[in-house]
Structures are given as C-alpha cells and as structure tokens.
Symmetry: C2
Subunit: 159 residues, 2 copies
C-alpha cells in the first residue's frame, strides 16, 4: 500500500498571511482602531465578524438602521479592495459607500473618472460571507476586474 | 435723441422657465413632495432655499450634523444634473451623494463605469449659491463637462 498523503490543513492564519486582500482588510481595521482595542487580537479574530452564516443572517433584522460596526466593516472591505488595485495600477483610488436607511445603496471605487468597482448593496445589515475563502475569492474577483478596467482605460483613470 | 431701449427684466420665473436645469430641480423637489406640501407653491419659491448669501452661510454652524433638508436639496440638485445629461446622451445616470458627519464628501453622477460628475463637497451644511443665475451657470458647467465625457468615452459609459 502506498502511503496516504495528507494535505496540510490551511488554517485561517495561513490563509490570511498568503492573501494580500485579507491582510489589507486587517490593516484597515487596525488603522481605524484609535483606542488600541484590537491591539492584541489575532488577525483571524478581527476578520471573524465578516463571516456570517445563512442562519446568522436571518437573525439580523432588516427593519432597523444599519449597525455602525457593519457599515465600518463594509468600508474596510472596499478600502482594502481599493488598496489592492492601487498596488497593481499605481493610480490612487477613492472609495464611496452610500447606504440608505433600508440598507440599500452603492459601493464605489474609482480613479479619475473611471469606476473600478461599482456594486449595488442590498440588505447591507446582513453584510458578510460564508467563509474566509469565499470572502477572499469574491474580493479577488472585484480586484481583478478593477485592474483589467484600469489597464484598458488608462486615459479615463488619469482624468 | 434716440429712444432708450430698456432690456426686459429677467424675473426668476422667466429664468426658471428658460432653463432645463432649473426646471429639472423643481421637478425633483415636486417628485419628493409626498404630502403635497408644495403643491401650490411657485417654482421660484421652491428654489429659494438654494440661494444662500455669504452672511447666511456664516450663520450655519459646521459643528452640527447636516440638516436632512439640506441633504435632500443637494440630492435634488445632482439628480437634476444627471437628468439633464441623460436627456442629451440617452444613457441612464446614477447619482450618489455621500457625506460624513462633518459635511465633507462626494457627489457622483455615473453611467456604466464612467463618472460624468465627480465633485468633492465641503461644508455641505452651507450648500447654496449666491443667486439663481450662479446656480444655473455652475450646474450647466457640470452638465456640459458630463456630456463631453459621455461623448468622448461611449464605450466606458455603456459598460
């Protein structure tokens, strides 16, 4: 019998260390931590509130105003995406997250006159991902698309 | 002596009637008038709060949260601009006004991936113009620029 090869388990910590996006989100959270509340927290603990299961989501009421912490999580997520696109393209990117009282709105990342990310948000009160892997994959898709647009329309992003 | 020709006075009502932008702003205000409060108001009365003199501005404190009425005036203004650009280009335009607690933020009008209007707002609590003429002139400049961009980058605005 040939020996069974067991793939080394990818721990959250390893996943974060290998992902520029996840690291950038952690960096955003730490940058906003004016009182040092999270100073001694592990990165994976900081990202934990981004993981929201289907049942968790159902428990978050949509009738209420969006929680300021959720809003700030959304901002950190899109700022991290903007940062990752900047690293590739060299163009400064701005982030605007606009949500109404019903948790509906836009997340925009733009450079010059070019929208690198343009995403409608719905039920933002329930913002979150099934897993860290999912969060990484979805974010990377947005980054990839943003970089492609920036490369395709350099003139517009320099306006 | 040759007779003196007196130019007919341009009343606010005449100015509004001759300006697609001012008419569009009035339309926005009436569209948001769910309770019919303004039903019998003249157009020029509806636009009056947009006219804020230098001394008026000084009286509006910047330490306080932006007045919801001011916020809605800013939205109506940029929605009217978006509407006027749409009329020329045929592309649907979205409007996002994002303001933080200090009255600082962005007013954005976009179609597809193209930002037709991209304006930073400061001291938004004091949003207003010296006169109807000024409001018309400034708005028309934004519209003109937006139309130019839309015509120059049709591919980006159709994305």
């Amino acid at each position: 019998m040939s020996p069974v090869t067991v793939a080394p388990e990818v721990t959250p910590a390893l996943l974060i260390d290998s992902s520029p996006l996840l690291k950038a989100i952690v960096q955003q959270i730490r940058a906003n931590d004016a009182y040092g509340t999270y100073r001694n927290w592990a990165d994976e603990l900081l990202l934990k509130p981004y993981i929201v299961s289907k049942t968790d989501k159902k428990d978050i009421p949509l009738e209420e105003e969006i929680d300021p912490l959720t809003k700030s999580r959304i901002l950190s997520y899109y700022r991290a995406i903007a940062y990752c696109i900047e690293q590739e393209t060299g163009s400064l990117a701005q982030v605007v997250v606009d949500l109404n009282h019903e948790g509906f709105g836009w997340a925009l990342v733009f450079a010059g006159r070019l929208l690198l990310v343009s995403k409608t948000l719905r039920d933002a009160q329930r913002f979150g991902f099934k897993s860290l892997d999912k969060m990484k994959a979805e974010g990377e898709k947005l980054i990839q698309k943003g970089i492609e647009l920036a490369e395709k329309y350099p003139e517009v992003r320099e306006l």
